[in-house]
């Protein structure tokens, strides 16, 4: 039982990161129908910048976190301005390729700045792990789960209670109609990139003390986060959060009980099964899928 709980906790931790990456995918996908495969790099940038500010420059914790989030947001902004906006005919394949190329450039920059070593810093709070029915849960794990929950609530409030959030949702449903009602679609697209970059940064900052962070972690995170988004139904925020946690937990159980190498295949196999049999995701409905532009 305690072993099972231990796996469950580690699954929840990594699942929280997948959930955040999945959410980031959805924010951009909803505003632009672009799949941003550089999403994983935002997580890495967040974690590594946090190390840079807090460990290398010795800035106070909160300031470093804020700076790391802002800088990552800036990178999201630059990415949109320089590589997404100039493309007139937003062909699906071209956009996927551009985001892949951006992720290669970001990885190059990260390697140039940080090298190939993994980095870590102290957990947010010092203290012994908490014992729950014989399983040990690190305090940082609670931080990760707490921060993820907070982000999800904030996202929910943003998209449902604020004018800006509602405008972004409108762009997702129909950009032309949104434009007619006076919504600045270009600005919404830009905001979506900044937001999902910041979201990735938050995830990176929270998880680095547990999993360490190195420059080439991005692609795998993007793939897993994407599995989470597909699982919950592309374009559905809540679905991708649940999907992220399910994938994280299944991964950690597979690594624990079956074979550690098989864990990377789990998310992909689940994703393929869902794509083939329920492309709308487990929580998605058929109509949602039909509404999406391909």
């Amino acid at each position: 039982m305690s072993v099972f709980l231990q796996f469950l906790f580690s699954g929840l931790t990594i699942g929280a990161v997948y959930a955040m990456v999945g959410l980031g995918f959805n924010i951009i996908y909803n505003a632009t129908s672009i799949i941003n495969l550089a999403q994983g790099e935002f997580v890495v940038i967040g974690g590594l910048l946090m190390w840079l500010f807090s460990e290398s420059m010795k800035l106070p914790f909160l300031i470093s976190a804020l700076l790391a989030i802002l800088f990552t947001g800036l990178i999201g902004l630059l990415m949109e301005r320089l590589t997404i906006r100039p493309v007139k005919k937003k062909d699906l394949l071209l956009m996927i390729m551009i985001t892949i190329a951006v992720s290669i450039v970001l990885r190059g920059l990260l390697m140039f700045k940080f090298g190939k070593d993994p980095y870590t810093y102290n957990p947010f709070t010092e203290g012994d792990p908490i014992n729950i029915y014989g399983a040990y849960i690190q305090q940082q794990t609670l931080w990760v789960i707490g921060i993820t929950s907070l982000c999800i609530i904030l996202m929910y409030l943003f998209f449902n209670k604020t004018m800006l959030g509602k405008a972004m949702k409108a762009c997702a449903v129909d950009p032309t109609a949104a434009r007619i009602t006076g919504i600045n679609v270009e600005r919404m697209v830009m905001i979506s990139f900044v937001m999902s970059a910041m979201m990735g940064a938050v995830a990176g900052i929270a998880v680095t003390p547990i999993t360490l962070m190195e420059y080439d972690r991005g692609p795998m995170l993007a793939v897993k986060g994407f599995c989470a988004a597909i699982m919950g139904g592309l374009g559905r925020g809540r679905g991708s959060v649940i999907g992220g946690f399910i994938i994280g937990i299944l991964e950690s159980l597979t690594a624990g009980y079956i074979h550690s190498g098989a864990k990377d295949a789990v998310a992909l196999i689940i994703m393929l099964i869902i794509l083939f049999f329920r492309p709308a995701g487990i929580f998605g409905s058929k109509t949602i899928i039909d509404l999406r532009r391909f």
């Binding site: 129908s33 799949i35 590589t83 100039p86 493309v87 062909d91 699906l92 394949l93 071209l94 996927i96 390729m97 551009i98 892949i100 190329a101 951006v102 290669i104 450039v105 970001l106 990885r107 190059g108 920059l109 390697m111 140039f112 692609p219 793939v223 994407f226 599995c227 597909i230 592309l234 074979h259 190498g261 098989a262 990377d264 295949a265 992909l268 196999i269 994703m271 393929l272 794509l275 083939f276 049999f277 492309p279 391909f294």
Partner: protein, 312 residues
């Protein structure tokens, strides 16, 4: 073959035959050989994407199946290399059918991601359960035919490029045949081509199989050339590279696929002097070519030539 295509074909073929005599050293020859192997995979993807309009981000999966199956069969089961080549192609074709049947319903992003997932699963499998695991395995026999072993760089260069020219001739004829016209009609509108009597699902499966077989042959050629393979050559990055080749060259042109493959293969060599910055420069070149030449090089050059021709 159309007359223009035949002319380009003959000119290119001559170039291929004469080219090695202007090269110095076996290193340049081996780069040229890799360019040929990559062209083979890129042509397959070009038919799949440019003509049939289906996206694949998992070509490295088929490439890996080709390399691993052929290498394992020839080492562990002592099969003649030629036979293991065709077994590898068959294995890849079967996996393509298995992937294509459920993927038939998927389009756009969903198809892209499903194929990406397929490629990654193959990568995880060969990484975990392939011989040698992540570090790979060696001692793969060189390609041989009727007792002749292709063990010099020059002989392998000719083997690859002559095979490639045969494949190219086959592909050009294929896309100008009934099959190719059906592919293009499917690209424009599945419903319309269905109404015209094209069996869309079967056609999709066929074209997936075709591109998988090309990739598998590429993989087998690669394995029996370098004689050592490891999973890292068949990762997602490889799929992306093949995609880049097709897009950089021009997605609707088979010649573009070859041009793209040559450029993408040469790029790391040219960038070698940037040392550790190479990945950065590489990414920047890719982004700028995607942003500014997103139709692909060959179509742009053809357009320019036509304009110039009209002007005079």
């Amino acid at each position: 073959m159309q007359i223009t295509n035949r002319r380009i074909f003959l000119a290119f073929f001559t170039l291929v035959l004469v080219f090695p005599f202007f090269l110095e050293g076996s290193y340049a020859l081996s780069i040229a050989t890799f360019a040929g192997i990559n062209s083979l995979i890129a042509i397959g993807l070009c038919i799949l994407m440019g003509y049939a309009g289906q996206v694949s981000l998992g070509q490295a999966g088929f490439y890996g199946i080709g390399a691993y199956v052929s290498a394992i069969l020839s080492i562990n089961f002592g099969l003649p290399v030629v036979l293991s080549f065709f077994m590898a192609a068959a294995a890849s074709a079967i996996s393509a059918v298995v992937l294509a049947i459920p993927a038939l319903r998927l389009k756009g992003h969903y198809l892209a991601v499903a194929t990406l997932g397929f490629g990654e699963i193959i990568y995880v499998i060969i990484n975990e359960w392939g011989p040698g695991g992540p570090s790979g395995f060696g001692d793969i026999p060189k390609f041989n035919l009727f007792g002749y072993v292709f063990n010099t760089p020059l002989s392998y260069y000719f083997l690859i490029w002559i095979t490639l020219m045969l494949v190219m001739a086959f592909s050009i004829n294929l896309i100008n045949s009934r099959f190719g016209r059906a592919l293009r009609s499917m690209h424009d509108s599945e419903i319309a081509s269905n109404a015209m009597g094209v069996d869309v699902p079967t056609l999709k499966i066929k074209v997936f199989v075709l591109s998988a077989v090309y990739a598998a042959f590429g993989g087998a050629f690669y394995a029996h050339y370098v004689t050592f393979i490891s999973p890292s050559s068949f990762s997602l990055f490889q799929s992306v590279l093949v995609l880049m080749m097709v897009v950089v060259g021009g997605i609707t042109s088979l010649w573009g696929a070859i041009a793209g493959a040559i450029i993408i293969t040469l790029l790391p060599e040219i960038l070698r002097e940037f040392k550790e910055y190479d990945i950065l420069v590489y990414g920047l070149i890719l982004i700028s070519s995607l942003l500014f030449f997103n139709k692909g090089l060959v179509p742009i050059i053809i357009e320019r030539l036509k304009k110039g021709y009209k002007g005079t």
